[in-house]
Assembly symmetry: C2
Homo-oligomer: 339 residues x 2
């Protein structure tokens, strides 16, 4: 068994905080004895939730934070003003080496800004991309970047491709991960100015397995492992993926409930159907790491329930064990030791 990894968790972030967050943290330490969770937030509320469960006490600690950053707050201002917010306090634990990782379901903007400002980027990394795993027919693909820093340059996209490859190889165990760039056609001469500029640079990269363009239509097939795009496009893909999946599943459920005959059919078919649809459920795959930072910062869905929180916490262990940041710094950064 490996060393204990310490994960700071934003107990106050997300639609279901603190209840589901604390529950997820408890489930994580119940599942794994190599994890210690630091719950950061309003002490009373966290204690109240913890009382509901039986769990190895030594694996859970509370670090109080009296403020909460709301989703609607302007991120830069919130990080600057709310010094005693759960996000700022937790990120400082990572910065100071008191925690290996930080998991939050709170304000995306605040987590992204705070991660870069407080934890800081690895030297030589130009931008820290948010890289969620999205479900496909064959498993999962890494969609990089879905963050808040839009209008990227080609050099950013090349770094995203490299960081994504390292992540998929060492965290997911994919050998020679296939890398593609999101485009509106398969041919090299297609695309917008950014894609046309980036394509030849990716083609030249010797340390990635670049397979060319991918059209959005083919993303759900899961033929590539790392899908590179600028954050605006990535955000559109991620959100549409989530919105369309849930809409279609809803539409199908309505269809199944529309007649008596179909209701009986649905009752018989439901167990198999549920199993299949589970593979297309984004919450199965934990949160999205913000890559290229000096510590690990993971953003989960605002709507995250305990299962996703638990998975996100567990996901941090592999990331830390595999020394992903060290690999990123060695291969892409300015060749210095990670602080």
């Amino acid at each position: 068994m490996s060393d204990t990894k310490i994960v700071a968790v934003d107990a106050m972030g997300g639609d279901n905080a603190p209840g589901e967050i604390v529950k997820g943290a408890v489930e994580a330490v119940q599942t794994r004895d190599d994890i210690k969770v630091i719950l950061v937030g309003l002490q009373d509320k966290i204690e109240q939730e913890l009382e509901k469960y039986t769990y190895p006490k030594a694996q859970v600690e509370i670090v109080p934070a009296t403020e909460v950053i709301e989703t609607a707050e302007p991120p830069v201002l919130a990080i600057r003003k709310k010094k005693d917010s759960s996000i700022v306090v937790a990120l400082k634990l990572v910065k100071e080496g008191k925690a290996d990782a930080f998991v939050s379901a709170g304000s995306s903007g605040a987590v992204l800004v705070g991660g870069q400002v407080i934890v800081g980027k690895i030297k030589g990394i130009e931008r820290a991309p948010l890289a969620p795993l999205i479900p496909t027919k064959k498993g999962v693909s890494l969609l990089i970047d879905c963050g808040a820093n839009v209008d990227a340059r080609s050099s950013h996209l090349v770094q995203f491709a490299k960081m994504g490859s390292i992540y998929m190889e060492h965290v997911l165990g994919v050998e020679k991960p296939k890398v593609a760039i999101v485009n509106i056609g398969a041919e090299e001469e297609k695309g917008n100015a950014l894609v046309k500029e980036t394509y030849p640079l990716l083609k030249e990269c010797k340390d990635i397995n670049f397979v060319g363009s991918i059209e959005a239509r083919d993303i759900p097939n899961g033929d590539v492992d790392v899908i590179v795009c600028e954050a605006f496009v990535g955000n559109v893909i991620l959100k549409l993926y989530e919105g369309l999946s849930s809409t279609l599943i809803g539409v199908i459920k309505t269809g199944l409930m529309s007649t008596l005959k179909s209701k009986i059919g649905a009752a018989l078919a439901l167990p198999s159907l549920k199993k299949t649809l589970k593979s297309f459920d984004a919450s199965e795959y934990g949160g999205a790491p913000l890559l290229g930072l000096k510590g690990l910062v993971v953003k989960t869905h605002g709507s995250a329930k305990s299962k996703e929180v638990k998975n996100s916490i567990i996901q941090c262990v592999t990331f830390t064990e595999q020394r992903i940041n060290h690999k990123i710094q060695q291969n892409i950064g300015a060749d210095q030791e990670v602080e």
Copy 2:
């Protein structure tokens, strides 16, 4: 009954040409006696297909074209060199007023380039956007632009919003169509440089019903009628919409067939399910018009079968009857009569 509308159809374009195209044309004239179809392409092959059907002969004409533009050909070159291709010949019929509209399932690039070069843009229209209808929970929304002209400017997007509104109001009969811009958050200050520049311009527009930003997640809900975006983003949305829908439906079918119990359930539920999923089938809604041209050019899916071809031909009648081009020219163009 209104005047007969003449629709030129690219008999050689698409994966299922000429069989499904000719079949769709025949179905269109069998359904409506106010449509005349001109089938453009290789005369022998068209005649061979036509022989299979009984239909009002006076409503179908063949105009021969000896060349075919393939999907993989560079569009600009193809339009310039293949003067006797079905696309070029048919577009000239529109340009010369011998046809009211042109429908093609062939090379998107060639149809888009040819439409702009041969038919020409309405004076004052900066770009001709491709605007497909996409299925939503509540019906359909117009996604504008999904064409090949990427890296748009804000003035283009404002024209797209206006053209889209005119289309939805007069072709689909939506009163005061709701217009939104694709963004990565609901707040006005969010977005990339293009969206931030365009947002206030759309807000100022008095002749559209601008409701603000729309996140990709909410597109399938169908709360807005006109979804404005730059063509690269639009293309990604359109293709992902199609790819994810078909993947999910496939995954669900596999799930339903996985056990004996679920198979029996599926057999009972299938009729209701099919009806529901039909509403999410893009081919129900015909092709995508290329707006802002001096004539009507409609692009259908490369995989179009007869039903989509028929629907696309019929769709041209309302567009022409409602004098959409005239309305675009009066409201957005340089205030001249459409040639």
